[in-house]
């Protein structure tokens, strides 16, 4: 059982870290703000969930797990909301969702 949990949590943490790195690459490679936000927010939520879930598998059923669970729920709700609000404000302040010709590679 321990071995299974260890494998599962390593898998979760590994995938989470992979997502984090892709997000970091994404915020540099993407051409304009909205695509960058997409890269950042999708990987952010995914990475946070997977990492925290991997840690939860390791810690067993105790107070830290419940705290991790709270952080997880908080992230699941707040991170997409922040991205939504960010893109909405950017749009209403005049940022263009499609890349302008100058920005296209």
């Amino acid at each position: 059982m321990d071995t299974f949990l260890a494998w599962a949590s390593i898998l979760c943490i590994g995938t989470g870290v992979f997502l984090a790195v892709t997000g970091a690459v994404g915020i540099f490679r993407m051409p304009n703000f909205f695509t960058r936000l997409h890269a950042a927010s999708v990987t952010d939520s995914g990475c946070a969930c997977l990492l925290l879930f991997g840690l939860m598998l390791q810690s067993g059923f105790n107070l830290p797990t419940i705290k991790l669970c709270f952080i997880l729920i908080f992230f699941l709700i707040s991170s997409p909301t922040a991205a939504h609000a960010l893109s909405k404000t950017a749009l209403s302040c005049g940022a263009q969702p499609t890349p302008s010709p100058r920005e296209e590679r």
Partner: protein, 331 residues
């Protein structure tokens, strides 16, 4: 491993500080100072100063950013004049820095067990606070019992700072807020505009307040206590103000009530001290509060943490109200 993390975090800290110095767009500076505070707190955590990190986390990133934003909202988003580079000032700074670094040569190494600071009162705090105070978190025992008088001073400082901010900035046109907002139709407009945000924040506010209470009453056993709890509780109110407007927030708790609550917190703290005097002990010597000294300590710490939390909460909200009743975040 810890060393690598420390060095990396410190490098980031240096880069951020340099960038803050170089950039003259104040908004960018505020964003970077948020990152700076995140990095500071991470460093505190790796150095095991969990309570300090807690405070930095609660104050530095959240409330400081909000207040700084209100400030540039009321003033300007650009640094006005490009600073001149006088040679003399550079020389003075370099000389002072050199002297300070020279001074650190005589300091004992970090974590050196023979350092004077580890010889004086620290052994007693570490070894006997469990028997004398009965609190699991030694920081809490030192903060509120051994050094209770200092903490009273800190609370009064926060109280005074809040009073001076309100005295300097004040609440301009406070009574007219409702009329002005209703005339501008702000609340109606916002209702449709931020449906997602409103629902999410409405969901979060009770959780935040609950977490603040947990931090307040859990301070005996883990990191946390009155200062941190007060700030987190205030964050809940700031969330509400950001989403529903200053007018609605002031209807929940008015600045006048807040100033009474702030004074009440200091009063609770001082009152515990006077009560211990009357019951035959020294000022803030909680042993005499109950027949059993440990229970007395527990009650005393509970009461003064409550006082600290109340004062910090109300002063934070008061300062935020004062800032945003200018041309702050919402207007």
């Amino acid at each position: 491993m810890e060393l690598i993390i420390d060095i990396t975090l410190l490098t980031f800290l240096g880069i951020t500080a340099l960038a803050i110095n170089r950039i003259d767009k104040l908004f960018c500076v505020i964003m970077l100072s948020g990152i700076y505070s995140l990095l500071c707190a991470s460093l505190f955590v790796t150095m095991d100063a969990v309570d300090v990190a807690f405070t930095e986390a609660a104050v530095g990133t959240g409330i400081a950013t909000v207040l700084l934003l209100s400030t540039i909202g009321a003033t300007d988003t650009q640094q006005r004049s490009a600073p001149r580079r006088p040679l003399f000032a550079l020389l003075v700074v370099c000389a002072t820095g050199a002297i300070l670094i020279y001074g650190t040569m005589d300091m004992p190494a970090f974590g050196d067990p023979d350092a004077p600071i580890h010889q004086h009162v620290a052994p007693r705090y570490l070894q006997e606070s469990q028997q004398e105070i009965g609190s699991d978190n030694i920081v809490t025992s030192i903060l509120s019992s051994y050094r209770g008088f200092d903490t009273l001073g800190e609370t009064v400082v926060i109280f005074t700072a809040g009073l001076s901010v309100v005295g300097l900035i004040g609440f301009r046109g406070m009574q007219k807020f409702g009329d002005r907002q209703r005339a501008a139709g702000i609340t109606q407009d916002d209702m449709g505009k931020h449906l997602v945000l409103r629902i999410v924040i409405k969901m979060f506010i009770p959780l935040i307040l609950l977490f603040a209470l947990y931090v307040q009453f859990h301070g005996d056993f883990g990191p946390g206590g009155g200062f941190q709890a007060g700030v987190i509780f205030a964050s809940g109110f700031i969330f509400y103000t950001l989403m529903f407007g200053l007018d609605a927030a002031m209807r929940v708790v008015s600045p006048r009530t807040l100033s009474y609550i702030a004074a009440l917190g200091v009063l609770i703290y001082g009152g515990v001290g006077v009560a211990t005097l009357l019951m035959g002990g020294n000022f803030l010597d909680y042993n005499v509060l109950r027949s059993n000294p440990l229970q007395g300590q527990h009650l005393g710490i509970f009461l003064i943490e409550l006082g600290v939390g109340t004062t910090v909460f109300s002063i934070m909200v008061l300062i935020f109200f004062a800032f945003s009743s200018r041309k702050g975040l919402r207007q």
